[in-house]
């Protein structure tokens, strides 16, 4: 973060000048004066929503400000004002927004990027509905001693119906080979996302990529790819075999995939992730090897994955399983 920013006014001063009541709880962990000043922008937007005031809403933007909301692409303050005015007369009548900051990053003394999470509560909603949850990126710039919104875009957290999986794709007509490829990709991406469980983001999400990569490689019975997830001196305890490096792991897995493990899948769900340091972590999962043609492992095991971050990427240092049943 730059030691100084070009807007000198405090958050309190900026909000007072805009006639907006300061929400002291909004800032969360972002307590630095410059961060708070930048966060006046989402507070002003919130206030404009609460008042259903399209003019106040548009005034937060720069003249060439741009708003991407679902499928509406608005590229000037005038367009934004007109769109919101119409909205507040119709579908957005009585609506308000909720949100909280996830990150504040200064790109220079006069440009900041803020990420928030939240969403719109329509007139009748008692609380933020799962299908309305979004994450937004705000590009905020210094203009005439104040922070102003240059660009706002939001992405939904979930599919229609609020469930992470959402509903299957539209058309599956046999003639549309192209949409079928895309449909498969969409379905696979959704299933993949669910594998992260409650550890979607942050360092834990990054650590969890290690068992997920092994799972993906196992699904293709790809011994090279499995070995590739390990560090050079990674080790794997399999039954009575202690495999001490990548090459031994690769050779063992190649033989196994040609024999008893041919066509099997690895099915594991995360139980816990513990950071031991900035670049060492332990992930514990439960599940097991699913025999070819089946959907569940015959007996569950608990797996400990010791992982380490090397050159920016989390890798597998050690893999060991223990049966659950005695």
């Amino acid at each position: 973060m730059p030691t100084s920013v070009s807007v000198k006014a405090t958050a309190t001063q900026l909000l007072a000048a805009a006639g907006v009541e300061e929400d002291h709880g909004f800032y969360g962990p972002f307590t630095d004066a410059a961060e708070r000043a930048v966060l006046t922008v989402p507070q002003m937007i919130k206030a404009a929503w609460a008042a259903n005031d399209a003019e106040a809403f548009a005034r937060v933007f720069t003249r060439n400000g741009s708003l991407l909301m679902r499928d509406e692409q608005l590229t000037s303050r005038d367009q934004i004002r007109a769109h919101m005015a119409a909205g507040f007369r119709n579908g957005y009548k009585g609506a308000r927004v909720t949100g909280w900051p996830l990150s504040v990053t200064f790109l220079s003394r006069s440009v900041a990027v803020v990420v928030t999470q939240g969403g719109i509560l329509l007139g009748g909603d008692a609380e933020l509905l799962p299908e309305r949850e979004i994450r937004a990126t705000w590009v905020i710039v210094a203009r005439n001693g104040r922070w102003r919104l240059l660009s706002h875009q939001s992405s939904p957290l979930r599919g229609p119906g609020g469930s992470p999986a959402g509903s299957p794709a539209a058309s599956n007509s046999e003639e549309e080979a192209m949409s079928s490829n895309a449909s498969q990709l969409v379905t696979k991406a959704k299933e993949w996302a669910e594998l992260y469980g409650k550890y979607s983001n942050g360092v834990e999400g990054a650590v969890l990529t290690v068992p997920l990569r092994v799972r993906a490689a196992w699904e293709s019975n790809d011994a090279d790819a499995i070995a590739g997830v390990f560090t050079d001196n990674g080790s794997m305890l399999v039954g009575d075999e202690q495999l001490m490096n990548r090459e031994e792991i690769r050779a063992y897995m190649a033989k196994a995939f040609a024999a008893g493990w041919r066509g099997t899948k690895l099915s594991e769900r995360p139980l816990e992730i513990k950071l031991l340091s900035d670049d060492v972590a332990v992930a514990i999962t439960q599940g097991g090897i699913v025999p070819s043609g089946q959907t569940e492992p015959p007996a569950e095991v608990r797996t400990v994955w010791v992982t380490a971050k090397q050159d920016g990427e989390w890798r597998l240092v050690s893999y060991q399983t223990s049966p659950l049943a005695s």
């Binding site: 741009s66 991407l68 679902r70 499928d71 996830l102 990150s103 990053t105 790109l107 220079s108 006069s110 440009v111 990027v113 990420v115 999470q117 994450r135 990126t137 590009v139 710039v141 240059l150 660009s151 875009q153 939001s154 992405s155 939904p156 957290l157 979930r158 599919g159 992470p164 794709a169 539209a170 192209m178 949409s179 490829n181 895309a182 498969q184 990709l185 969409v186 696979k188 991406a189 959704k190 299933e191 993949w192 996302a193 992260y196 979607s200 983001n201 942050g202 999400g205 990054a206 650590v207 990529t209 997920l212 990569r213 799972r215 993906a216 490689a217 050159d311 920016g312 990427e313 989390w314």
Partner: protein, 158 residues
């Protein structure tokens, strides 16, 4: 209509088609950011994709994907390329480019993921992307990337 860049270094014609109306040198420099990301994705190169981002870069995708910093991005992409993104490409064309300052540019593209073997964006995978690009030490980097579904048929969520 989108421009798909064939694997390997793009030809001058392909680049000119990609740049469209953004022909000033400064604009092309900023557009090197999406071009480099597309090239890294074509090789399913997680480290390559991460290297386009700034050290504290941000990646937001529909669904519950919010990655902060090159390392989180690299691990996420490595897993995605082992899983559902294996063999995919990505394509897009710039629709808006504005300089916030000499060192910060806001690029918007229309594009999407290409399923393995596909050359055209399927409506289900169509997205609008915002690329917040920053120039550091003479190199343009991706400070924040976000996309959201474009069009009624777009269904991709994580």
């Amino acid at each position: 209509m989108s421009t798909t860049l064939a694997p390997g270094a793009p030809t001058k014609e392909q680049l000119d088609a990609y740049y469209g109306s953004f022909t000033e040198e400064k604009q092309k420099e900023a557009l090197s950011v999406p071009l480099r990301l597309v090239a890294a994705w074509a090789k399913n190169d997680a480290a390559g994709v991460a290297s386009v981002f700034s050290e504290d870069g941000i990646l937001i995708l529909p669904g519950d994907v919010f990655k902060q910093g090159r390392d989180e991005i690299q691990s996420f992409m490595a897993a995605a390329y082992a899983g559902p993104f294996k063999g995919t490409g990505v394509t897009g064309r710039p629709v808006d480019l504005r300089f916030v300052s000499d060192d910060v540019a806001l690029v918007r593209t229309h594009g999407g993921i290409l399923a393995p073997g596909e050359k055209e964006i399927d409506p289900e995978l169509a997205v609008r992307s915002t690329w917040v690009c920053v120039k550091r030490d003479g190199q343009w980097q991706l400070a924040a990337y976000q996309n959201s579904p474009r069009g009624a048929g777009a269904t991709l969520r994580w």
